[in-house]
């Protein structure tokens, strides 16, 4: 990708963003470009951890938007970030249960929340090692419940996939995932989940060759216009 930081012609920003941000950021970029016609944006959407690893491997990014604090911290420790990160969105956990695709009826297993209604049912959650799993573990211990999942998925998308397909009776996912799943699932809010917030930090990278434009993008994401788009896709306010 070509960059001309000194202003002639177009500048291309490479944004490394967590895969879960993909539709939202695509739209944010469209809005941003309206205000900054000279700037092109390409996205590298992958798991936050893949992104950090690639930056460690020398990948040239201008902006890094992580789906969790942990990977942003690793990025900072690896001296990949310039300045301080800014949290631009949050996400909380919800319980989803499948809806019957024919009848549209949901919750045939009669699940009411993280309680005894899950006994003998197939619950899927994220593995503790991954960000959504860490959040899940915190929530469970906050609530004092012991979860007995049939699978500890390695991506939240896989939790969603298992519930959407009806393979699992219930799954713990982010509210954005629940929103993406649309009417394939029914969402059950968990009291106390709002206290276990997963934050999305964003920052300009140390290696950016267009730090000014990068910063303007970061600012735009945090701006009202940016936040409006993110809200549309189910993200919470920072």
């Amino acid at each position: 990708s070509s960059r001309s930081p000194s202003g002639h012609g177009r500048t291309t920003l490479t944004v490394f963003a967590a895969a879960s941000l993909n539709t939202a950021f695509d739209e944010v970029a469209v809005e941003y470009k309206k205000a900054h016609p000279g700037v092109e944006i390409t996205f590298n959407y992958l798991g936050s951890q893949d992104l950090v690893q690639q930056m460690q491997g020398g990948a040239a990014a201008d902006v890094f938007a992580s789906a969790d604090q942990k990977n942003m911290t690793i990025a900072i420790e690896s001296k990949l970030i310039s300045g301080g990160p800014k949290v631009f969105a949050t996400n909380t956990l919800v319980l989803i249960v499948p809806r019957d695709p024919k009848t549209g009826q949901g919750n045939s297993a009669g699940i009411t929340g993280l309680d005894a209604s899950l006994d003998g049912k197939k619950l899927v959650i994220c593995a503790p090692a991954v960000p959504c799993g860490a959040t899940t573990a915190t929530l469970a211990s906050n609530l004092g419940v012991t979860l007995k999942p049939v699978s500890e998925e390695q991506k939240v998308t896989d939790v969603r996939g298992k519930v959407e397909s009806g393979e699992a009776d219930a799954g713990l996912v982010y509210s954005t995932d629940a929103k993406q799943a649309g009417d394939k699932v029914e969402t059950i809010q968990i009291p106390g989940a709002e206290k276990v917030v997963n934050s999305y930090p964003i920052a300009v990278t140390a290696s950016s060759r267009a730090p000014a434009e990068a910063q303007s993008f970061v600012d735009f994401v945090a701006s009202e216009a940016g936040q409006a788009v993110l809200e549309k896709y189910g993200f919470g306010k920072p």
Partner: protein, 266 residues
């Protein structure tokens, strides 16, 4: 019979080809935290994953062989459009990204799937079981077996099969006592590939079977998870797969040596 010697440039080129593979492995060796290796490899999670991988890969290899062999035989007899059709069907799982393969299995054999709903009605649920792992691995590995064996069957001189038939051997006997032994090396190669492909299988398993220690979390899934914590430990775990591969490669060679016939035949 002495074989004609290989031209020198082939040796040079082969060295280049092997280097392409060897150098990244060297990179791996440099990165691995060798001191932590013993601890890592003896953790419950790792050993459970290893045994699960061994068990499921062996089963998948056998299933791929049993299911793939007849398909390869049929395929080798077909010509023209029918061959294209069957071959396309047979190798499709190879071109699907593993995750898609897993999703496809989920929407078919899952609790609400085309087939799965009937199974579920009969009380059989595959999802989240070790069986699901085996199915996912078999699905993605079988095409490699089929393609390998079909090629060998197509180059087999049919005169030997005819000769066996004129000696009174039924088609089944011909198959068992002539065709299969004659394509033996290709069958072994196919089984090797099926096992190897199963051993590295990640996406389909994840999407279809889930990931639970001891039940569905195979070695690749364990490695992936380990990577969330520490990339270098993940690389160390993949050492196990490399050692397994080496043992695997030594096996067919051993089998071949055992059954060695001192060459080819007029």
């Amino acid at each position: 019979m002495t074989r004609t010697p290989l031209p020198a440039w082939v040796l040079v080129a082969a060295t280049v080809g092997l280097t392409v593979v060897a150098v990244p492995l060297l990179g791996l060796a440099v990165r691995i935290p060798w001191a932590d290796v013993p601890t890592l490899l003896t953790s419950t999670a790792a050993t459970q994953a290893l045994w699960l991988s061994l068990r499921t890969c062996t089963l998948s290899m056998l299933l791929a062989t049993v299911l793939g062999l007849p398909v390869a035989m049929l395929l080798a007899r077909l010509e023209g459009r029918r061959a294209v059709l069957v071959r396309t069907l047979a190798v499709l799982p190879m071109v699907l990204p593993p995750v898609v393969a897993g999703l496809v299995l989920l929407v078919t054999l899952g609790r609400r799937g085309v087939v799965g709903q009937h199974l579920a009605a009969a009380g059989i649920e595959i999802g989240f079981t070790t069986a699901a792992v085996v199915i996912a691995q078999t699905f993605v590995a079988m095409p490699f077996f089929i393609v390998s064996v079909e090629g060998a069957l197509r180059t087999l001189d049919p005169a030997y099969e005819v000769a066996a038939a004129t000696l009174g051997a039924s088609p089944t006997t011909v198959l068992r006592r002539v065709t299969l032994p004659m394509v033996g090396p290709a069958v072994l190669a196919g089984m090797t590939m099926a096992f190897a492909r199963s051993l590295g299988e990640f996406g389909a398993t994840l999407a279809f079977a889930g990931s639970l220690q001891g039940t569905t979390r195979t070695m690749p899934l364990e490695i992936y998870l380990q990577r969330e914590t520490d990339t270098d430990s993940a690389l160390a775990l993949s050492l196990v797969l490399i050692v397994l591969a080496a043992v695997l490669m030594a096996l067919p060679a051993g089998v071949r040596a055992l059954g060695s016939r001192g060459g080819r035949v007029a």
